[in-house]
Point group: C2
Chain length 401, copies 2
Amino acid sequence: MTLAPTVPMDEVWAKRLANRTHRMRPSAIREILKLTSQGDVLSLAGGLPAGELFPVAEVARATERALSLNGVRALQYGPSNGLPELREWVAGKRKGAEAYRVLITSGSQQGLDLIAKVLLDPGDNVAISAPAYMGALRAFDPYEPNYLPVDMDEEGIVPAALETVLAQGVKFLYVVPDFDNPSGRRASLERRQAIVEVCDRYGTLIVEDAPYRELRFDDTIYPPLFELAPDRVVHLGTLSKTLAPGLRLAWLLLPEQLVDIVEQAKQAMDLHTSTFGQSVAYELVKDGALEKRYPALREHYRSQRDVLVEKLHGALGDRLQFEVPPGGMFLWATLPEGVDATDLLRVAVEHGVAFVPGQSFYPREGKLNTLRLSFSLLDEDGFTEATKRLAAAFDAYGIRG
Amino acid sequence: MTLAPTVPMDEVWAKRLANRTHRMRPSAIREILKLTSQGDVLSLAGGLPAGELFPVAEVARATERALSLNGVRALQYGPSNGLPELREWVAGKRKGAEAYRVLITSGSQQGLDLIAKVLLDPGDNVAISAPAYMGALRAFDPYEPNYLPVDMDEEGIVPAALETVLAQGVKFLYVVPDFDNPSGRRASLERRQAIVEVCDRYGTLIVEDAPYRELRFDDTIYPPLFELAPDRVVHLGTLSKTLAPGLRLAWLLLPEQLVDIVEQAKQAMDLHTSTFGQSVAYELVKDGALEKRYPALREHYRSQRDVLVEKLHGALGDRLQFEVPPGGMFLWATLPEGVDATDLLRVAVEHGVAFVPGQSFYPREGKLNTLRLSFSLLDEDGFTEATKRLAAAFDAYGIRG
């Protein structure tokens, strides 16, 4: 394929753009991934799920079933809010959910876009965990919100910090209570109750993003915020981490007051999510088939985490502090005070290893000495080599124990 | 599935919505389709492609090929602008197109959303044909443009009218030159040249939507506007009418200055279009397979048009004036002066037949005595019965010859 020429935006074209467009920017992770695809760079940066766990043969069989059951329906236009049987299946997963409040989206990213589009005027305050999922920031940015970051600790966002922010008046709070991206943290039960209680007091809508919820490495299960306050939580779920992201299938559970308006917004956005993809996905998840995949997924990612943790300890000792996440795909780490992870990344890429500087995950100025490591992609040899290279980069940068 | 309760939007919730959201509304066609699904109503309203032409068996085989070629890639995250091989295929279809300027979208509706999102500030002028595709109006509405309608005649939009509008300063012109929805019209070659010339003079970007282009009923082929001005036309193409809409696969051909920024907007919107759907679609279209479908499609819709035209003449005589469209799926008709098609629709539904009042297609006040009839859905018996019911509705309403 012809490489895209570098075309500087000229004045005539710049004037054609909307104001919001000047807030758009490429995802830092995708830019780093472009770097790592050049030459021999081992990536601890991207969050791609493990491809070897994708049910390739099952997808082929599910497609055949979906097409022979009703091939024309699977290829025809469909309802804007999604196929009824898939919406029923989603509703069956959550206490307090009903099928009419489910809207099928093309990935959770579209769910975030939808919510922001329907709710945010330029300048509106949005409460958001700091650090926060970068994709959410990129989804919200075009609607020109004013981010009010809420501090986190290892138990999740801090209620006192949340209260200070909500007192300023916000459109909604965005939060990932289970195995947060990038922090890997799981909010404790007390924190969940406190978050709901504070939001209740201020009448604040909660946007709960739960892509990693099923990827837990222990037996502790806390209720999603949706189940604590089903009338005031927009809950986002997805098949991307438990089945396959290439299907782009996810859903919103909506407060009933938002059902009609979000459906209209979805219709204006892309009419509806692929009926073909939805028909195939339903065949893949029905009758408990999805839940049967969970034990293997959990075991895989838990073991990946354990290997990365061990290799990091071995290669870097106490030069890198980090939390051991109880689930998900990411490990959040802190460099010695004064080290800028973005500078370190340049050195690391020269040494053949990449990560994501923590700065990219902060809605405003962030902690420069933080970084995110993904344990989803490499195997044991890869982790050994990647952490060795990371140690060499630490040496070259002058980070001592 | 539980029926959605009717939930009036209360004040607290209404205050949570963005200003733009108050401009959103359901598609009139979808609302009519809801009516027609109740009981025995024959629909000349919706624009669903003919399901019997969907290549169900081929989709099953293509899926198998795509998954056995590289199943993990087909189920993994992919590039925001689409799979390279599919972008190459799109570029090969149009003179002056290059693969780096192609962006794969989840249906053309998403292409319209993307363009509006990147270009439109509230209050910006948009030049748009009158009547115009309703889905485009719904896609643009949330960005709060000021529509400047451009009059059409049977040869397409009128250059003098266009000039008057462009002189007021517009962000872009939206137009469907080939077998327009709803008008069924094809812009003549002279009109195409005039449109490009006038837009050139005012430096106006053209958004050319071409979903029906391949559904032509004669041998006349005019170049798309994109080929007349490849540097200043955003061209939208789709597989929805030639393959199957349920795949939600379409594309934008972009001026190179917009390539990067639209890719960023797409990334923020849904990361990328389904790699699964793209992989399957590529297997369905490569090596000329799509073009082999065109003769049968053209013959089918041409014959459908002929039957509807004949039945309308037989049942209604000169009580309904209409143009015979040279392609597409729609026929645009005019009622006697003074008849409001929306009133007539109520009577028609009572008589068991539905159409779309023309009013719905006008960006501002429209011609009340116009309507759109689709010839894509019914068979000969259906057309016989539908036109008979239409005649009964005309009688009941008091429309005489």
